[in-house]
Symmetry: C2
Subunit: 200 residues, 2 copies
DNA sequence: TGCCGGGTGGCACTGGGTGTCACTAACGTG
DNA sequence: CACGTTAGTGACACCCAGTGCCACCCGGCA
């Protein structure tokens, strides 16, 4: 059903995704209609909405699989490591793309972080990530996933990750992994770079 | 223009806002159409969209004024206070509502944090907050607003604030101010509650 | 009286998203 | 070979958010 020698559905889905990424980057998210994407992919508007529940979802690739992988990585974490270190390592590993995939990733993230409509939509997708991370923290600390600490760790580590993505995207000088580690270090140490503020 | 003895515009705006909050809470955000709100407020759909650029914006009250106030509070901050403490104090003061306004605030925040569509929209409004906070951190540390640290502090403090709101909303046992302080303390100290994880 | 100008309502239009139906190609099974 | 079955698709109609446009009404003002 999901696999097979020639999965027609997966093929049109991939074509639509490529066309969407291309057109969004070229003309901007709002300027491109679902009809435009369907035409560019050689199919119909109706099929587009059968492959992606939303115009915005065409940008997100296999994000659900990434979240599932993050979940598995966190579950396999050794308990002798600090919680934040485990989360950081899992984030880094999930975002360890092959060099050949980096251009597509840049394109994707530039859209997600740059286009207001996609920025808004991202909140919904990130909520899944937060649930996974909060669950892990809850397991490790014996608290409920709805308590302050698990929630807070989940949202602020995700904040660190997206900030690292922004810096990586804008600067271009650093590796994504480096940016992630830098952000997580600040977070884990309570922002040491903020400590010596005015004192002479 | 914005004020006067009888500002007709402001009155219909207030009526629309009340009607929207009421209907959204009762029937859910997606189920209520702009026509429903306009009818309930005794005006027309067209007028609704002249008062609020988006259906979602009817929930946000005078959010722009709050952001401006946050900006002023941060600008008036004394330099002898740690940066995070200044931000926490400013957040607490901006969210120091009169007891009479708390029910409306609960209603508003329950919608914003609960309805997926409003959750998504919130990202756009919060971006203004982040800009303000990042600017403050940049000023205090001498970095550029686009650098890692100012961005990271802005997004993670906002994460702390929204998490505090969630806990306040769900639990109902604590004050909003208490929840904010608890979240900021965790953040400022690098999550001390996470430190002694499995040891011993 | 006539000339404004702001707030309004009606109307038509674009575009995202959904439900429904008919068509087609692949795949058995008799 | 004829047969139902099923998945993928395209076409059409529909709802609703949001926008541009225009006509209207009403309070001021010369």
């Amino acid at each position: 059903m999901t696999e097979g020698p020639v999965d027609v559905r997966a093929d049109t889905r991939a074509r639509l995704q490529r066309a969407a990424l291309e057109l969004f980057t070229r003309d901007g998210f709002e300027q491109v209609t679902a009809d435009d994407i369907a035409d560019a992919a050689g199919t119909s508007r109706r099929t587009f909405f059968r492959c992606f529940p939303t115009k915005a979802d065409a940008v997100w690739g296999e994000f659900g699989a990434h979240v599932a992988r993050l979940d598995r990585l966190l579950a396999a974490t050794h308990g002798d490591q600090p919680v934040l270190a485990s989360i950081c390592a899992a984030y880094v590993e999930v975002n360890d793309y092959a060099a050949a995939d980096l251009p597509t990733l840049r394109q994707r993230m530039a859209l997600i972080l740059g286009e207001p409509a996609l920025q808004a939509h991202s909140q919904v997708r990130y909520a899944d990530v937060d649930r996974v991370v909060a669950g892990h923290v809850a397991r490790r600390t014996g608290q409920a996933p709805g308590d302050l600490l698990p929630r807070l760790v989940a949202t602020s580590t995700r904040a660190a990750a997206t900030t690292a993505f922004e810096v990586w995207l804008a600067g271009g000088t650093t590796t994504l992994g480096h940016a992630l580690h830098a952000a997580f270090d600040q977070l884990a140490l309570g922002f040491p770079a903020l400590r010596p503020p005015p004192g002479s």
